[in-house]
């Protein structure tokens, strides 16, 4: 089995992901949350590299860390009053939600642990990750590729129409 070992890099990345994830959902200042989200997404790109998905890691860094994070930070700056840090950021469901999520995580992890048969394959990883992805985007996944480009165009136009100021 040539599956990647769970080494020290994985533990460091997981700890960083989980800690920054908790920071994203718990910090009071929404701007700090956005910065923690950027760090978390960057560490997820590191996990992709560990899993031999280099193109996806690069796309993650470009799209999430580059584009989506900038967009979120812009939205935070446009909508939030930076000086007011004393607002309560959670609603009254916090305690119930906390225990629900703990329960959810516990049940999922124990289900994964209890599963015996995974059909783990011992074949070799695809050699040229980027080349294979490019080829299958143009052959096997042609239709989803085109549909997703139409979706991006629709999202672009929709965002412009929504965010444009009405002339009065």
């Amino acid at each position: 089995m040539n599956a990647p070992d769970v080494g020290i890099v994985f533990w460091i990345l997981s700890a960083a992901i989980l800690i920054s994830g908790v920071m994203v959902v718990s910090l009071r200042n929404i701007f700090h949350c956005a910065l923690a989200l950027v760090f978390c997404l960057f560490c997820v790109a590191g996990i992709y590299v560990l899993l031999n998905a280099e193109f996806l890691a690069a796309a993650q860094v470009l799209i999430y860390v580059g584009a989506v994070a900038i967009l979120i930070i812009f939205a935070v700056m446009l909508t939030t009053d930076m000086t007011s840090k004393k607002i309560v950021m959670t609603n009254e469901n916090a305690l119930v939600s906390f225990f629900t999520c703990i329960l959810f995580a516990f049940v999922s992890v124990s289900m994964i642990r209890l599963t015996k048969v995974w059909n783990i394959s011992d074949k070799e990883v695809v050699a040229n990750n980027v080349e294979t992805i490019g080829k299958s985007l143009m052959t096997e996944f042609m239709l989803p590729f085109e549909v997703v480009s139409v979706l991006l165009l629709a999202a672009l136009i929709g965002a412009i129409v929504l965010a444009r100021r009405e002339r009065s």
Binding site: A3, I17, L18, A34, I47, N52, I63, N91, V109
Partner: protein, 99 residues
């Protein structure tokens, strides 16, 4: 493989907690991004361990990333519109769709 899946499950739970408890629309969107990433880690993990000779899981993850980007764009535009109309993006203000 267990550790990767467990990481994804815990990250998903964290995102779920954020979606349920945030009062800020942008906070909810950021927690949604966490949940998307947890799902993506799952997809890539299954691809790597169960079918490493194909890249179907990675293709799925790429499409998820693209759709998440589109969702973030439209969502943040909606947040801007809501802020302009209500002067705030707390979820307790936005209740005109409730009956």
């Amino acid at each position: 493989m267990f550790y990767y899946l467990a990481l994804a499950a815990v990250l998903f739970a964290i995102g779920l907690f954020g979606v349920m408890t945030r009062r800020n629309l942008i906070g909810i969107l950021m927690s949604l991004e966490l949940m998307f990433n947890a799902a993506n880690i799952n997809l890539v993990t299954f691809n790597r361990f169960i079918a490493p000779e194909h890249i179907v899981g990675q293709m799925f993850a790429i499409f998820v990333v693209v759709v998440a980007a589109a969702e973030a764009v439209v969502g943040l535009a909606l947040v801007l519109v809501i802020y302009r109309n209500w002067r705030g993006i707390g979820t307790e203000n936005i209740s005109i769709m409730k009956w």
